[in-house]
Amino acid sequence: MEFRVWRFNPESDSEPRMETHQIEVSRGMMLRDVLLEIKRRDESFAFRHSCGEGVCGSDGVNVNGRNRLACITPVSELKAPVEVRPFPGRPVIRDLVVDMGQFYAQYQAVEPWLKRQEPEPEQEILQSPEERARLDGLWECILCGCCSTSCPSFWWNPDRFLGPQALLSAWRFLADSRDQAEEERLDALDGPYRLFRCHTVMNCVDACPKHLNPTQAIGHIRNLMLKKSV
């Protein structure tokens, strides 16, 4: 089966190029195994990976035009020639390794931790099963970046628009019964760019390997903003 991978070595290349490999595929093979085979042939080939089972979120790449995790993408699902490129819109450090700094900065900007006004209690803060259920579909995010790097608004304004991942995380804490910083969080999301650059393109929902729904989370934030303002 034919695979074409994006190659760029900052020390020797001035332009990126596509490199073709013929690789024998076997049953149950994932795209990550193919990338590992390419690395066996040429150890200068660089890509990130770790757990190999869609939990760590390291090996997000653009496969035949779609952002996916290589480790949970069966080769049998792909149409040859398979073209593997780095995430769109991110500066490439080498081959498939991109600089995700901006993405993490946006995640940090939503202050993804519980904030309390009241003094910290002696024991844990209890939640009802219903309150806990509100966090389902939010906490599962693994920060792989498939969503934000497939979002046109994030391509054009990665510094001013938070992107689907950070906004999903923002809602994860707004929806948490233990968090007490609702007003502060909503104020920080106001303005024409940070949240409202979302134009409901929904590429993020298509791209998410964990089947989460940032568009719905963004809608919930908008509704909450509306409720607070009337």
Partner: protein, 125 residues
């Protein structure tokens, strides 16, 4: 010395746009078309209202194939923008925002708009 060259992959033709994304870009294109059609519509209206001769000229204009094609294009733009706008309103109301609904509704709008435009076209000629 470490090189600071950092290329960016953003070739839009090589990135597969999902159906909801295609609907979204078509929403923008149709919006621009509708905006651009305003002076043409105003000119046409003023021609029709200028008298019997003007009305006849406008009628003759509508018999020309390129004009009919343009009319279909603007009618499609109107229908697409209207239907896609209603779809966006539903999604804003948290209706049909989950898979596979948002994809299905995108298909309905993308295929429905030209069909509705085609159905309405004879009424304008």
């Amino acid at each position: 010395m470490r090189s600071q060259v950092r290329p960016v992959f953003l070739e839009l033709t090589r990135i597969r746009l999902p159906v909801a994304g295609i609907l979204s870009i078509a929403h923008r294109v149709s919006g621009i078309l509708l905006f651009l059609s305003i002076p043409l519509q105003a000119a046409l209206l003023s021609l029709v209202l200028s008298g019997e001769e003007g009305y006849r000229q406008a009628h003759a204009l509508f018999q020309m194939l390129p004009v009919r094609l343009a009319l279909f294009l603007f009618l499609w733009a109107l229908m697409h923008h209207l239907l896609a706008g209603i779809r966006f309103l539903f999604i804003d109301l948290d209706l049909g925002v989950r898979a596979p609904r948002y994809r299905q509704s995108a298909w309905v709008v993308l295929l429905g708009a030209p069909l509705v435009a085609l159905a309405l076209l004879p009424g304008l000629l």
